[in-house]
Symmetry: D2
Subunit: 353 residues, 4 copies
């Protein structure tokens, strides 16, 4: 159920409704909107309390949310969710496209900085790089772990890039939450419900990748797991699904972008690197992703892809990334977006040079 | 095998090589290029004749084509195939995007003209409309047949639009070839090899749609069936493949566009109507298709989609089509394309005003 | 709609109802059952005539068939369809399992007879062998055509095996109908509606293979195309669908067998050869097919599979076929079936010994 | 790499080789076989040490394992793995089929006992029942947790059934390992590598379900994750993959059974309940699973499926389970298997009656 507050409801009235809901043993999720606040209720089974809720001060109406996903639904929050990062103008979900670039794995301080400097020079505001890698084989390179997190942290301090990196389990989740700006949960963990719930207890944005065979509803239900624990900053990411087609590593399903945007307020990015698995196709698919209306791109860049410890064949060169940025900048206004280049540190930030 | 002629080879030398190949019992497929002509050989099994071919006058070299598809391959013809239509500047495969628009089915003269006039006004150069419809149910509307072909023919004469319509079998193929400018072969017939071969004997361009579960190689092999009979004007069309995803009628696989363009010289279009099955998603996916680099769009437009006898839910309104044209026109230069509006009748055309 | 006749309705009454339906411009499909005859009506749009039909002599009731497939549905015909072959006790769809075995292609008289003699010796009652082959490549062996049909015909005469072979188009359909006992329509032609309708006008059983990405409903609708033209002897065949799985050529979907049997009265076979593409897996999957309840097996057997012109890797050896027959014979009674061995020529047959 | 010991190698020689390998910084995995012991080496990169290993006492040869999965491969262990349960004759992987039956979730002591008594009466030796449930929705019933584990434990004590139940994360893994006989890891966690590794450190058998879109290699690599940590008792389970087919909840891919058995020594079961999602199809698919050669069945049984808190529609009734056991018992000898009924408590067991 959803309690829609009146436009003029006071913070005290909103708090009183939340307290009332929690006292009933349910969970209240206040969702401020441009016009008015809505309060999602989870944990309740029936409709019994509708009447008493409607009588509380400041309440406009109580409505039933029919979809399986509630907090992720536009029924509960009509306006697009925009995720902001304190101290910078970087954002995910607004009119400005979010560009997240970097290597599959952090392999060394030199490698990470070499790539980070180049993607920053081309205007990326977010840097990606794996510290903990989910690998099909137990014998493959599994990431540098905490050492990589420290390198990433230094990149943020030195270059002003916001950091996106993946957490695999409880241990890495706590560390990633400490060091990164955005916690990535990978496709293979999209239905690792224990990890989702634990990420929901944190107060850091979570970038959730679509599972290899996840339906739209399952994808949003995974986001709902995070949100139901109180973390509403979820960024979705399409990265290709598994089909019979053999000309690409995965089949990038761009039609899910407008389909998601119709029913959910959450931002959604596209990963054309995993979505194709082939360097040649990354640029065309990145253009297509922005043209279809995605909120940004997550892309693998490597200065020496043939020496990469993972995903070399799908990593683009820094020069290709620069060209990609130029092309996306041209497409952006056609879909009423913009591509801001470089890092504009805002007044409240301190210390980054 | 492939015989590459010298740049300065004369038409007589080319003809002599073809005659020599045919005398051996094989089939010769001369493919003129910007620099020089290549001659594909099909029907041969081995390599025995390589030596004697290399000794013929005007021959530069004889090379083996290792791919399963030969005439469709860039090994045989490096330059993009551009299909031109006598009497107009309309083309498929060149720098100008090809826009094919119209209803799923021709339902009446009034309906067809109402839509044709509006898509022509927005700048489409090609009109589509089904005369023979492949329907899942034997009890569903199967098309107006010859009556529809006559209406389409009148649309060409009156509005100058080139006509694209589907052939289902031998009978309809002969009629469609008589009335239309481009013969469409649908996804369900992509491996109807008998129909492909027969279309290969005609001298009209064939628009071949990808089957619902066709791999890239199977798609090009289907084109090869047409080409092996001597008809080299094949236009490919991605229209979505069948997957588990349930948010769209099919999963539009845009990554096949750059993958095809890398290995084949044939033009490739995208059908965002069948590719999504939902009106809402047609515009975003049309933008994505052009951004990814497709040679054009095949799109269903209907002025009264809720009254359409087939595919109403995926047909866009004429006003949406006009907006789509505006958006595609803006994306075109980013991918080094252009969108020419309206019909420029060339000097050699007569009678259409 | 469906007219259910009273149990005691006379042939004249049934004929009168059919005549009445046809006079209305619709098509009548009388379906005799154990207890009473039902008459399917196709071609009608509405319900207007229900009242007058109910008043005709011998009519028990008129009911609406809600499924998209009507003549293929158990709503119209409750009892299993059993297809019998005059002059022998061979049948498809009854308690006795139907075993159809032979090479992918008829390659020569010697090859065909060598295999036919061995499968007959192991108890097969039906022989399969392609005369016209649908090949992905236009340059691959396309079958011996009419010459193969004559060899197959001779096998029937000499060995008493019933012949199953594929038709690809109108021309081959007429020839196959002339020479064979069962006309096969392949997976790639499952939605070649023109071919289906033409096969529906014949009076020979049609073995219809499931398309590579056909749903249950599409499969039955393809059967409905044949039946709507008056040919009710349709045999379905599951042969694997296309998925991401790469350990087999296709993914054999055995769960469609009970799902089809619940809603349709048509017999359904399984092809474990195309369903797996690997000789090793043919026997296990053949056992599974019978255990799940299929009406029989269509299997590729070759005495020299490494020399086969097509599908060698999935063809089993005659000795493996003999073992398969032993295993299926043991499984049969568990699912209330039997496996009759050899050819029992009935009294009305002549000349075969 | 793999060190094959001589047939007459002593335990001391085997231990010395293991010590030598560990001293090099690698991991040694001794795999006793009927004839001789092989020692898998994981963690090494190259071939440098081959020579010195070959010179150790008792070593027959050192061979390279070319497959990505090593410990799961028949290259390393040729004989089938049989997992035995102390104190009973129950086993998974041997000639006797393993039948694991019970409700999707443990809902109450009464419900669990009601079902357990009936499946035991029909001869099941293993009881399944979820204590921790991975649910698509955060608002759905998530299992009774520790309370369910205690009920399951009581069922083992009272009825002698071995217990199989799912672990979702580190916390539940430790508890499940404490209470259950077999730890299930579900399809959605098949590539939760952190959980797999942790399960690999335990010394309890792990039942690993195939992911919804896992290839054969990915499936075995997931098993390899468990084995690489020293737990070699892994039981695989096919439970259906996700495809376009809509007549079943999943598409049960039985052809993976013989394909796995060819390359791996691990036992493999089939779950016809999740594999079909429809009660009607469970029995036919269970028969097919045994006929294809699976080592057993994991099946959902509920005495009141319409009141089940999860998966009611796919749970069979106890009477259907009894009939299933009869049918499987008949099929077993055809594939050189047997179905032992009831619990034979061996001499070393105490207290269970």
């Amino acid at each position: 159920m959803l309690v829609v507050m009146k436009a003029q409801a006071t913070p005290e009235e909103i708090q009183a409704v939340c307290d009332y809901i929690e006292a009933l043993g349910y969970r209240a999720h206040p969702m401020p909107g441009a016009q008015r606040t809505a309060i999602g209720i989870t944990g309740n089974q029936g409709e019994a309390e509708r009447g008493s809720l409607e009588e509380l001060s400041g309440v406009a109406e109580v409505i039933r949310v029919s979809k399986a996903y509630k907090l992720a639904s536009r029924d509960v929050k009509e306006e697009d969710t925009v995720i902001r990062f304190a101290g910078t103008d970087a954002a995910i979900g607004g009119r400005a496209l979010a560009i997240i670039a970097g290597p599959c794995s952090v392999e060394s301080r030199e490698q990470a900085f070499a790539i980070a400097e180049q993607v920053a020079a081309s205007g990326a505001q977010f840097f990606r790089g794996g510290a903990y890698k989910p690998r099909t084989s137990p014998y493959a390179f599994q990431g540098l772990g905490i050492e990589a997190l420290r390198i990433l942290s230094e990149i943020r301090e030195r270059l002003g890039l916001r950091i996106v990196t993946e957490a695999l389990d409880n241990e890495s989740l706590d560390l990633v939450a400490e060091y990164a700006d955005v916690i990535q949960i990978g496709a293979r963990n999209m239905q690792n419900f224990s990890l989702l719930k634990r990420a929901g207890k944190l107060r850091k944005p979570v970038l959730l990748k679509r599972g290899l065979s996840a339906t739209l509803e399952e994808f949003l239900m995974a986001a709902e797991y995070i949100m139901s624990e109180g973390n509403y900053e979820v960024i979705l990411c399409e990265r290709g699904v598994r089909t019979f087609a053999d000309h690409a590593r995965n089949t990038l399903d761009l039609s899910i972008i407008p389909a998601i945007q119709k029913v959910s307020h959450l931002p959604i990015l596209v990963d054309p690197s995993h979505g194709t698995g082939r360097r040649d196709n990354v640029l065309p698919m990145a253009r297509a992703a922005i043209a279809v209306g995605a909120d940004g791109i997550l892309v693998e860049v490597h200065h020496q892809p043939d020496k990469a410890l993972s995903d070399g064949p799908q990593s683009i060169y820094p020069a290709q990334f620069a060209r990609m940025m130029d092309e996306l900048e041209q497409i952006a206004p056609i879909v009423e977006r913009s591509l801001s280049r470089g890092i504009q540190v805002t007044a409240t930030a301190s210390g980054t040079s």
